[in-house]
Symmetry: C2
Amino acid sequence: MKSLVRQRKPRHERITRINSKVARDINRAIILNSVRQHQPISRTKISDITRLNKSTVSDIVATLIEEQLLAESPDLRKAIGRNPRNLTVRQGRHFVGAISLNSPTTSIAIVDIDGTVRARSELSTQSDTPRDLIGRSMKKLMMMRASVGTHQFRGIGVTVAGIVDASQARVVYSMNLNWEGVDLEALVREQLADVEIVSAENDAKASALAELLLGTHDLPSNDLVFVSFGVGIGVGATIHGRILNGYSHAAGELGHMTLVEGGRPCVCGSRGCWEAYASDAAIIDSYLSRKGKAPGRPAPTTIEDVLRASNNGEAEARETLSEAAHYAGIGIANLVKAFDPEAVIVAGTPKLAWDIFRPVIAQSVEKNTRLRHHTPAQVLPSSLTEIPSLLGAASLIIGYVFTDYRIAV
Amino acid sequence: MKSLVRQRKPRHERITRINSKVARDINRAIILNSVRQHQPISRTKISDITRLNKSTVSDIVATLIEEQLLAESPDLRKAIGRNPRNLTVRQGRHFVGAISLNSPTTSIAIVDIDGTVRARSELSTQSDTPRDLIGRSMKKLMMMRASVGTHQFRGIGVTVAGIVDASQARVVYSMNLNWEGVDLEALVREQLADVEIVSAENDAKASALAELLLGTHDLPSNDLVFVSFGVGIGVGATIHGRILNGYSHAAGELGHMTLVEGGRPCVCGSRGCWEAYASDAAIIDSYLSRKGKAPGRPAPTTIEDVLRASNNGEAEARETLSEAAHYAGIGIANLVKAFDPEAVIVAGTPKLAWDIFRPVIAQSVEKNTRLRHHTPAQVLPSSLTEIPSLLGAASLIIGYVFTDYRIAV
DNA sequence: CGATTAGTTGGTTCTGTCAACAAACTAATT
DNA sequence: AATTAGTTTGTTGACAGAACCAACTAATCG
């Protein structure tokens, strides 16, 4: 029997119709973004790019200047005709709080809306409860705020290594922190109730957004894949400049993608996962077995030890890293086939040993996409000057301020 | 005489800003879609769902009825209050031409805007030149049109097994047809110059759209992955109801995803590709080697032979298919990790031997996503009653008519 | 039992408001 | 004078809101 009661639609199916307010919001975001991407830029140029009427641009720009999101400065170029009045994203007025939750270290920053880091701090993370860790982080953030002299945060962004329901700012599951079902928004608001936005996201996904908004690579398509190699492997993709979330918030959980059917056993219980070959843990294991050493004796070997040995020219270390690069390359080639991004951005150990990883990965991608009759995706090291997941946390809010709209049917 | 068909912007014009016309178009599409998804539906219900004002809905619906895209019929339910006037997508007025180019058979159909197939035909494809094959297909389509008694096509949709630049209706490369750089729009317009839309797309991608628009599975999220197992393996993903294209039109070219590093050699020159384990070609090879037979003697073995043998209970055939199912499952599990869709839709050989494939694939997906703390993606056989790529071709136009807008920053 | 009236829901009409646009204008510069 | 940047003014189009009309059921009453 058909029920007469209309079921509440899940959030992702929400239909957004256009009315004058929504239209204004969208055009506002378009203008804000064109300033961000092309600054310094004049009103007339914005009008050319966006095809919005000059008067419309002037009108919206006026409100953005009033909101202190844009700043105006004269252009001193010597050209015929009236000089343009340049527009830039205004610094020093809008700040975001960024928290990258991780074990053993949680990073905290205050970031200007233009991406400049204003303050930076760390906490050592013991096996805190969610409330304790968020509480400590927020208190730290508020202390930093006092010293920076900012009054309010535009929003608080939080990243977590794990599965995060960004639509609810909720940690579904984090192996790293051993958390499950944590409402981050509520915990943040316990400390700072009146903040405008609280946003949370998986670290690799947010890092992809950071690379797009704050990185220096020129990626006009806004289609990229970010791969973070660390204890595990995290992947985040952006499609048309938006994070690919997935139906159950788990798109890009590719650390356990099968690369070698029946291969090395993995911590996940399966075999032949990418992480079993190209993560820091795998590198360390492989290095130790090459050296004929048992783990943890005399002292635990870290990834830094391997990198140091490699830099000193030690053969075993270099072989180990080459092997990891081989598997990193196969995995990345698979990513390229799946998402076909303009570029794959790599962070973590491969970036630290880029001379070893770059050629191997590039060759693997090229070889595997040879049939496709076009130039293969670029593989680039992350251009971010801070921990990607921390700038990622900031990007969540910055992205929200700059492009706060969504149309879906 | 006033044309039924609204005059529309050229297809490739990228909409950036919102003005009143764009707003109207978007709201129009939202209403049209809500009718398509919930029909029969009243104006008031549309207003509830879309949050558009009743007066706005009435206004837009009036134009849609005038365009003969919607039809009105009284509701005969006995409930208190005035009876609603039900709206449905109107049949018999708007038709699309659908062409699925393939070797050795090209399929052609005339499809009503609501997805009903009105006429259906096939051509055997020799090694035609692009112009010859499109010419023959279009002539056939025009003959069929005469017999169906339709006057004009709303658009022509074409699918190809290969890489297609949908934004230009251009085949970048098709191994199957041995085509490269073919401007399909131009070739179609040589035969039928005045058609409103010519749209082309990769077969698997279009099939995904067909499953969404015309399939019977209930997938509210509009995030799905379609996997077509045939001579090769094709993958198409939809994100929020839109095809994931990729930067170089090659997203989802996952037939050559590495699953078994260093495994079976593949036609592509690499090793351990998915296609080398789960395509029809791989199944046939595996079957023959199990039977100790050389290929092509006495007669070439086809996938139908294997399926027939399996249905007759032959052990070798069943083992072969189980093995293929195992690898299909691993590959699909990787897709689930990458895209995290609500469902994976499977077509081709696995659908034909679903009793063998379903449990193996389902187990593989479940086992591989166990760590994720949620119900795994469903794996479903295609619900389409026609060749997916043919309905896919139709869906390109139907999708265009129903949701023709794009917002990009 | 038929007529009347209240109540409910579907849909339309009319008016106000808002935002984008076009064109004419002012401003600043070589 | 020529050129380019940006503003002002009036117009247009579209959505929202509220009152209104339409169509129906259910209850009530003579």
